[in-house]
Symmetry: C2
C-alpha cells in the first residue's frame, strides 16, 4: 500500500458523487503532482551540501548541456520550466555564488548571456556521482522497456497539454 492509495480512493468517491468527473485524467494529474513533489524534495535534500536548490541545479545542467555553456534567460526559462521572473532571481543567486556569469550580448543589446563559470563546471563534476546514483535509484523499479514506454506516454501527454 503506497502513499497514493488514499488519494485514489477519494477520487473514486468523487466519481460516484459526480458522474461526469473523469477518473483517469484526475488520477494522472494527481500522480504527476505526487511524483513531482517527491522528486523535487529528494533532489533538494541531495543538493543541500552543495548549497544549491533543485531549480538552481536545473539551470546549471541546462547550461552544461549547451554549446559554449551559455544561454539567454528566456531560453533558460523554457529549458528549465521556470517563469522568466524566476530565472532572474535564480541567476542572481547563482552569480553571487560564482557558479555562472552574466554578460551583455552585443548582437542584441536586449539580451543577456548566462554562462557556466569554471567554478560552476567544477561543482557539476563534484555532485555528478551523487546525482547519477540518485537518478539510477529512482528508476530502479522500472524495466528498460517500461522506462521507454513511460517516456513515450509522458511526451504524448505533454504534447496534448501544450496543444492550445
Amino acid at each position: 500500500m503506497n502513499s497514493f492509495a488514499p488519494t485514489e480512493q477519494r477520487l473514486a468517491v468523487t466519481c460516484r458523487l459526480q458522474p461526469a468527473f473523469p477518473r483517469e485524467p484526475a488520477v494522472l494529474v494527481r500522480l504527476i503532482k505526487h511524483l513531482y513533489k517527491r522528486v523535487h524534495d529528494d533532489a533538494n535534500a541531495l543538493l543541500k551540501p552543495w548549497g544549491i536548490s533543485h531549480p538552481e541545479y536545473n539551470i546549471l545542467m541546462m547550461l552544461y548541456g549547451t554549446e559554449g555553456y551559455t544561454l539567454n534567460p528566456s531560453q533558460l526559462a523554457e529549458a528549465a520550466g521556470e517563469k522568466s521572473a524566476n530565472i532572474t532571481r535564480l541567476a542572481d543567486s547563482l552569480c553571487e555564488k560564482g557558479l555562472i556569469e552574466r554578460t551583455a550580448s552585443d548582437e542584441d543589446r536586449r539580451k543577456v548571456s548566462l554562462t557556466l563559470s569554471r567554478q560552476g563546471l567544477a561543482m557539476i563534476d563534484d555532485f555528478m556521482p551523487a546525482i547519477c546514483t540518485l537518478l539510477e535509484r529512482q528508476t530502479a523499479g522500472l524495466k528498460p522497456a517500461e522506462t521507454a514506454q513511460l517516456e513515450r506516454l509522458l511526451k504524448k501527454f505533454l504534447d496534448q497539454l501544450e496543444r492550445d
Copy 2:
C-alpha cells in the same frame, strides 16, 4: 516540435560529457517537472474566477471524496501532497472564505477536523463542469489503453521513489 525538445537535446549533450549520467531517469524526471508546471498553471488559471488556487482546490476535493467530508490536517497533507505547515495556511485561507470549517476533535484533543461547508460543497458543484472539461481535454491525446498504461507505470515509478 514541442517545448520539451530543447531540454531533451541538452540532456543528450550531458550524456556525452558525463558517461555515467543516466539518460532515461533524467528525461523522466524532467518530463514530470514540465508536466506538473503545466497542469498546475492551467488549473490555477481555470480556478481564478472562483478565487481559489490549485492547492486549495485539491484540499476541497480530498474532503469531498471522504466520508463525512472531514479530514485531519495530517491526513490532508498526505492526500493532497502538501507539507503540514502548508496545510495550516491553506486551511486558514479556506476557512476565511467560508469553504471549510475547523473544529476540535474530542476523542483526541491534539487533532483538528476540517470539514467541507455547505458553501464549499456548492462551490464544488459550481466549478465541476469546467474542471471536467479541462481534465477531459488534458488527456484527449491519449487512447484509453495508453491512459491505463500510463497510470500503471506512474504508480510503479512512485512506488520506487517511496522505497527507502
